[in-house]
């Protein structure tokens, strides 16, 4: 059984009766059993997965209608709710939280007969970009287990990269899908803000984050987007995509397309290997008929500061509900006064979450909002104007997903400011709501490099076409695990 096949191939094989969903899922669970001790992608595994796959095989055999996923085993970042199963956000605070409802993306995937093979690791409440801040221990990069897999959707990227599932859903607040995708050599896609419902995604910074797929191929990302995108009455921020088919015409090519190379994202501090991969990608795109030119987005310099100010503010508010009264862990209220109880209960948050909440209490406070929060919001507005201006001239923008190579676990954990710079190329898409995708492009010294493409709002189809074209220009080695 080849667990390495992409989603679309899996679907075809099950449909044609060449493989059974049950066998594939069983082998996937075995794979998890054998490699996840080393990788720690999974926080929980779905015990019923095999039974669910058997039901699908039965439907295939009897000729009943089967959903588009045909029992495809996918992993779900553990900040997305699946009814009656634990959703922990990799936090001690929600260690025992069982969601009483399905996220919209889960409902849609269930309708199309996807199988959730398990919930995967993340930085606690998605705050981080290495998955080191999981309360349940870090995930490891399958390319070299001494290295971080990126984050915060580290578990998603690891599970796809190490063939522990066919695809995964992560969430991207400032690069949390694209960054681990780049570090683990998978496709990672953050759609236009509002294209995918956030209902059931546990909020970190709700005004800029999106759920996004991590997949083996660009086509797989388009396939999953077809299933999970669209207007959702449960999320007022969703936009109507008129049931766009992102998979059709994906091979349209990029001839004649104008691509802007974002100057501020290939400047100081970029790793030479990353720079050379970026240049290589540009010349490959040019050889396919694209016209590439440098473009400047001045506000990128301020984007990370604005990003952390806004996300800390929203997180400070979003996480206020975890007072342990209505749900949470076992800690009786007897003898405590309200404020001392919840302050004590909230000690269960990890240090990174606490740091960001302190910042989240500081930057929007009455005395400081003008200096920090308000300015951050204005940088967001101006950056959006700048990028809108750029998209009048260019169809797409390009930059490396992360300006540096994956680094060792523990290397940067005590230096939050140096970690900030890892975010510099990804936060722009979140602050402006634009779609962006990381495509695996090179391996340098045994570690992956991803290239990022951005498009204008609701130009997700064009973005996926370009990403597909770029993907076809390289053949990458297989993960050594």
């Amino acid at each position: 059984m080849n667990l390495k096949i992409p989603a679309l191939e899996f679907v075809q094989e099950v449909k044609n009766g060449n493989i059974s969903a049950e066998d594939f899922v069983a082998k996937t669970l075995e794979r998890i059993q054998s490699v996840d001790d080393k990788l720690h992608a999974f926080l929980s595994v779905n015990e019923k997965a095999i039974d669910q796959a058997r039901v699908i095989d039965k439907k295939v055999k009897s000729g009943d209608k089967v959903g588009a996923c045909f029992g495809m085993p996918i992993s779900i970042k553990d900040n997305i709710c699946i009814k009656d199963s634990k959703t922990t956000c990799a936090s001690k605070m929600l260690e025992n939280f069982v969601a009483p409802y399905d996220a919209t993306v889960i409902t849609k995937l269930k309708e199309e007969d996807a199988i959730f093979v398990g919930k995967v690791n993340l930085d606690e409440f998605a705050m981080g970009l290495t998955t080191e801040f999981s309360a349940f221990g870090p995930s490891k990069n399958p390319w070299n287990t001494e290295y971080v897999p990126g984050g915060s959707s580290g578990g998603s990227a690891v599970s796809v990269s190490a063939f522990e599932c066919v695809a995964s859903l992560g969430s991207d607040t400032g690069g949390s899908v694209r960054n681990p995708a780049s570090f683990c050599s998978t496709v990672g896609y953050k759609p236009t803000y509002g294209l995918i419902s956030r209902y059931g995604l546990i909020s970190y910074a709700n005004s800029i984050e999106q759920i996004g797929p991590l997949t083996r191929t660009v086509k797989d990302a388009a396939f999953i987007l077809n299933i999970i995108s669209g207007l959702d009455p449960n999320d007022n921020t969703t936009v109507d995509n008129k049931n766009e088919d992102y998979l059709s015409e994906i091979d349209s090519g990029i001839e004649g397309k104008k691509i802007g190379i974002i100057k501020e994202m290939i400047g100081d501090g970029i790793d030479p290997a990353v720079l050379s991969a970026t240049k290589d990608a540009i010349s490959k795109l040019e050889s396919l008929g694209a016209i590439c030119e440098e473009v400047s987005l001045d506000m990128v310099k301020y984007s990370v500061a604005a990003y952390y100010t806004i996300t800390a503010t929203e997180a400070g508010s979003n996480l206020a509900r975890y007072d342990n009264l209505r749900y949470g862990y076992d800690f009786p209220v007897e003898g405590y006064e309200f404020n001392s109880y919840i302050s004590k209960a909230r000690e269960n948050f990890g240090p990174e979450v606490i740091r960001r909440m302190i910042i989240g209490g500081f930057v929007p406070s009455a005395g400081h909002a003008g200096k920090y929060f308000l300015k951050a919001m204005k940088v967001k507005s101006k950056l959006t104007r700048e990028i809108n201006e750029a998209f009048k001239k260019f169809d797409l923008l390009i930059a490396p997903t992360v300006p540096i190579m994956p680094f060792k676990i523990g290397e940067k954990i005590d230096d939050p400011v140096s970690l900030f710079l890892v975010d510099i190329n990804t936060v722009t898409a979140n602050l402006t709501g634009k779609p962006a995708i990381s495509v695996p492009f090179a391996i340098s010294n045994g570690l992956p490099i991803g290239i990022q493409l951005l498009a204008d709002s609701m130009q997700d189809k064009l973005l996926l076409q370009a990403a597909y074209a770029l993907e076809q220009t390289v053949t990458l080695p297989e993960v050594p695990i």
Binding site: S203, N206, L325, R326
Partner: protein, 467 residues
């Protein structure tokens, strides 16, 4: 000079669902925590789903209070920790990035006094806390989230009131207005709450929170003015502070809230985009709004010649004015107004009586028409009304059952008249010489018919009989 400003919280009780979820807006009919869902208890991953009708109803209130209404409205988070607040923030409105609250500046006349409205905001109500336990040491706080997320409109006024009496007059006008708009039932327990700020000449502003009814609002402002004046007279400084209204003891108590509690860290609610309300929709809302109380009153006076005071009473109470609107015709309007204001109001003078009352517009119309056509006397009409309110039976049935119909059958009446003539020879002689005294005989006929004889017909027949 005394200055009082108000923040009035009014639940939109007439909506079907809560502000951000599909749970019931009128939470009163449920058992503890039976009107809740993942959204209103703020479960992780839930998102607010703004109620379209709430935005419309709140806009109507803004229009009715002559407030400006913005092109687009925004929602903000007010962050503070309290066990009645499931998310530990409240979704509310503010005007920090331009005028984005549902209503901007406006005003309303209270008698001759103009009260300025600062703004109107749409927000969610918190849950309810219940305290259990014998001593303060053993106190247990229990939360019921049935109310959490109920649509609430906050009306903020300028400190334009000069006396508790003005406050009361304003509240009367406001609750009539809200009821007339059909957005709220001010009589429901907890539907109207308020905070007030009070200052006297030379003193600082004092906020009073937690006033649970309009009735107590007048009392609370009165208490606070007296308290401040007493301090002032003894040369004790009135400090700027927040006080709570203790509705058991009917006094205000200083609430020493710590400074950090007051930093609400307001910022935009990212889960709700800015909502655009274009002028077309506003015009449509205006056209759908019920006629204002003052316009109704004017119409009653000018069109039907109803006395000003009667028109006042009739127009300001939605229950009565709705009945009037549905039952009156060009010709019976005055009679209907008369029945409502002189008889019906006495019969249904409490909320319970109103709710139990079986009266409909048809009843009123039949009553007025029957009085005007002489089918029934005013006196009998009053008795019939009593029965209608109690049983809801049709008027004709009641007239039959209680034998209330006027005796207008000529031969029947003639028999009675002849009997009276034979019994009262003296009065008959007197009436023949002095026609003025004929009324005595009419009275006798009325007595015999228990007031049901058609008075005009009786007089006619008597005159004929006497020659």
């Amino acid at each position: 000079m005394t200055k009082i400003g108000l923040e009035i919280h009014c639940q939109l009780t007439n909506l079907e669902s809560k502000l951000f979820c599909s749970c019931k807006a009128n939470y009163r009919e449920f058992g503890i925590n039976e009107n809740i869902c993942p959204i209103c208890v703020g479960l992780p991953g839930s998102l607010p789903r703004l109620n379209q009708e709430a935005v419309k109803k709140a806009t109507m209130i803004a229009i009715a209070l002559n407030c400006s209404t913005p092109e687009k409205i925004a929602f903000f988070r007010k962050n503070y920790f309290y066990p009645d607040l499931p998310k530990n923030f409240q979704i509310t409105q503010l005007n920090i990035y331009g005028d984005t609250s549902i209503g901007g500046a406006g005003s309303i006349m209270v008698g001759d006094k103009k009260i300025n409205i600062t703004r109107i905001q749409l927000e969610e109500d918190p849950g309810r806390l219940i305290y259990e336990g014998s001593s303060s040491k053993n106190l247990i706080t229990l939360a019921d989230y049935n109310r959490a997320g109920t649509p609430l409109v906050e009306i903020v006024t300028e400190p334009d009131f000069e006396s508790p009496k003005q406050v009361r007059d304003f509240l009367n006008i406001l609750s009539d207005l809200l009821e007339n708009l059909g957005v709220s039932d001010p009589g429901l327990e907890g539907a109207m709450r308020a905070d007030a700020n009070v200052s006297i000449e030379g003193g600082k502003k004092v906020e009073i929170k937690n006033i649970g009814s309009f009735h107590d609002l007048e009392k609370a402002t009165h208490f606070e003015i007296t308290r401040q004046e007493s301090l002032h007279s003894r040369d004790i400084e009135i400090i700027q502070e927040t006080r709570h209204w203790d509705d058991q003891r009917k006094i205000t108590i200083s609430s020493r809230s710590k400074e950090e509690d007051l930093d609400y860290r307001y910022f935009l609610e990212g889960d709700i985009p800015w909502v655009t309300i274009d002028s077309e929709i506003k015009e449509k809302l205006k056209s759908e709004m019920p006629e204002s109380i003052s316009s109704k009153k004017e119409r009653y006076v000018s069109k039907y010649n109803i006395p000003g005071q009667v028109a006042d009473v009739l127009s300001s109470d939605k229950f009565y004015s709705d009945l009037f609107e549905e039952s009156h015709t060009e010709s019976n309007a005055k009679e209907v107004a008369n029945i409502i204001t002189t008889d019906l109001m006495g019969l249904v003078d409490t909320r319970e009586k109103r709710e139990e009352s079986k009266i409909t517009a048809t009843h009123l119309k039949d009553l007025a028409d029957s009085i005007q056509s002489g089918k029934i006397s005013r006196n009998s009409a009053k008795n019939a009304l009593h029965e209608i309110v109690k049983t809801g039976k049709g008027l004709s049935q009641i007239i039959l059952e209680l034998d209330l119909g006027n005796v207008s059958d000529e031969s029947e009446l003639l028999g009675i008249i002849q009997k009276v003539i034979s019994e009262e020879p003296q009065a008959v002689e007197q009436a023949k010489s002095n026609p003025q005294t004929i009324n005595y005989l009419v009275g006798k006929v009325m007595q015999k018919t228990k007031g049901k004889a058609d008075p005009t017909l009786t007089l006619d027949l008597l005159k004929k009989q006497l020659g």
